[in-house]
Symmetry: C2
Subunit: 294 residues, 2 copies
């Protein structure tokens, strides 16, 4: 796929448009404006794109799963809004702009996060109202709730809060990353695949691929974080280090961390070989997510 960058750009535009159309109209309430602000603030739309790609490699159309893709970005954005709150990570900057509570105040930011989480499940339900899609939608809702809940993202955020200022071991750092980001990352691909009617064996391979890719993605994030400027990252540089949060590069050193990334990428692409379908889209995606500069 020589025009992979074009594919990514088009997928992002497609997702962006669907997201903004899903949200309550601008000016209808402060919560609506806060939801729109945080969604519009950008981001790479990785989770929706993973969802669309998961559906595509199994033969479904992007259009058929766009509501599920939007749901994933809504869950991701809600988690960023709540994580940035003063009581949590107390972050003033997100995606290169003032964080939601800095613009709209804490109360509206809490409600905007709540509303995005709620709307995510409304989108999955809307998907499930289409003919013959109810059973898939139920599996998707279960997948999404599991990945976002105490056994996934929320559990990871709690461990992250507890870890502040402590010396963590490598397994502890990896567990936090797996829960905090890996679970939703993996769910994104699985939800797309579920929408396309994937079987259990396909789901297992895709989960494994997503977990490995997500792990590598997180290490790359930490590597970039240790090099970049505020403007490049869109969030305060070394915010994590300032709060003495352990990262894998900090524990292993940059070179060993990069070697780990390369190894994870090899493992991830090896997983894809187990499937008897064309997975080149996923391989390109993994490559792009892992070998990037920002």
């Amino acid at each position: 796929m020589p025009d992979f960058e074009q594919y990514l750009g088009e997928a992002k535009v497609f997702v962006d448009r669907a997201l903004m159309e899903s949200l309550p109209p601008a000016g209808s309430s402060n919560v609506a404006d806060a939801m729109r602000y945080s969604i519009a603030a950008g981001g790479k739309r990785l989770r929706p794109i993973l969802c669309l790609a998961g559906a595509q490699v199994l033969g479904a159309e992007q259009e058929a799963v766009i509501e599920v893709a939007c749901a994933l970005e809504m869950v991701h954005t809600y988690s960023l809004i709540h994580d940035d709150l003063p009581a949590m990570d107390d972050s003033d900057l997100r995606r290169g702009k003032a964080s939601c509570h800095r613009v709209f105040g804490e109360a509206i930011a809490i409600l905007a996060g709540d509303a995005l989480l709620t709307m995510a499940f409304e989108k999955v339900a809307a998907y499930g109202r289409e003919e013959q899609q109810a059973e898939q939608a139920i599996r998707i809702a279960f997948e999404l709730a599991s990945a976002a809940g105490v056994g996934g993202m929320i559990g990871g955020q709690e461990l992250d809060l507890v870890a502040e200022g402590k010396n963590l071991t490598l397994p502890e750092v990896e567990e936090i990353a797996a829960l905090k980001n890996g679970a939703l990352f993996s769910a994104a691909l699985r939800c797309g695949a579920l929408a396309a009617g994937a079987g259990e064996s396909e789901l297992q391979v895709l989960s494994s691929f997503a977990r490995l890719t997500g792990k590598a993605f997180q290490i790359v994030d930490d590597l970039l974080d240790s090099k970049a400027t505020d403007a490049e990252l869109g969030k305060p540089v070394e915010a994590d280090q300032k709060k003495a949060k352990a990262t894998l590069p900090a524990l292993l050193g940059v070179e060993a961390a990069q070697a780990r990334v390369d190894d994870l990428y090899r493992q991830a692409t090896a997983e894809l070989q187990k499937l008897e379908i064309d997975t080149s889209l996923l391989q390109l995606l993994a490559q792009r997510l892992i070998y990037r500069n920002n």
Copy 2:
């Protein structure tokens, strides 16, 4: 139904047990403990009981809809936890105990609310995984998300925050109550009815009944609030008045408010007559909810 009090007591025990069994184990994390604390802190379980009753009058078993009933209480409890936060209503007392953030801190309280909201949809999805229940579960998820979102509970909470310290008109007071409490109240009954396979005409009558009952319930809440002591109510007395939040009794006076309650009760029970099924359970429930002392 002479043993209606017994029915209510048994339904509450049934719901309480199912709720506690649904939550992550005690001690598994701070978020898990905070979820368990706020759910166990009590409350009348009105929404789950409305859900069970809605299913029962249409011929379904309580056991078949218990997961949906639990989902409604989880959504309600999440909203109480977030409403009590310092950035919102800043309330130290809830259901007669210290509010969640007073015990566990703000960060854990935010996450516990998020986790309960997430788990509510997980419960609906679990219900939908049973044979032949996927389509009903999708309708229930949609109903729940709509009632909880910006067009319902969250919208009501925002209006409530904005209203603080302002002189509201009667229609404004009623709109806030309809969104903040009425929407989920009505959804509770509708979700139970949906689980029992209710048709559109039945749903409309039940919605109307629930809206009227919910409106009366809210006025009674405000009436009791103006009379009771802290210990009786389980929350700081006149907390709403202190913050200069307008209530219907404050605007109309106690007598006119009570007349309004009586009128709403008559209208609600008249709605039930339109159905060709035995709705005595719902009539007793409305009576109990409206003519109460605490």
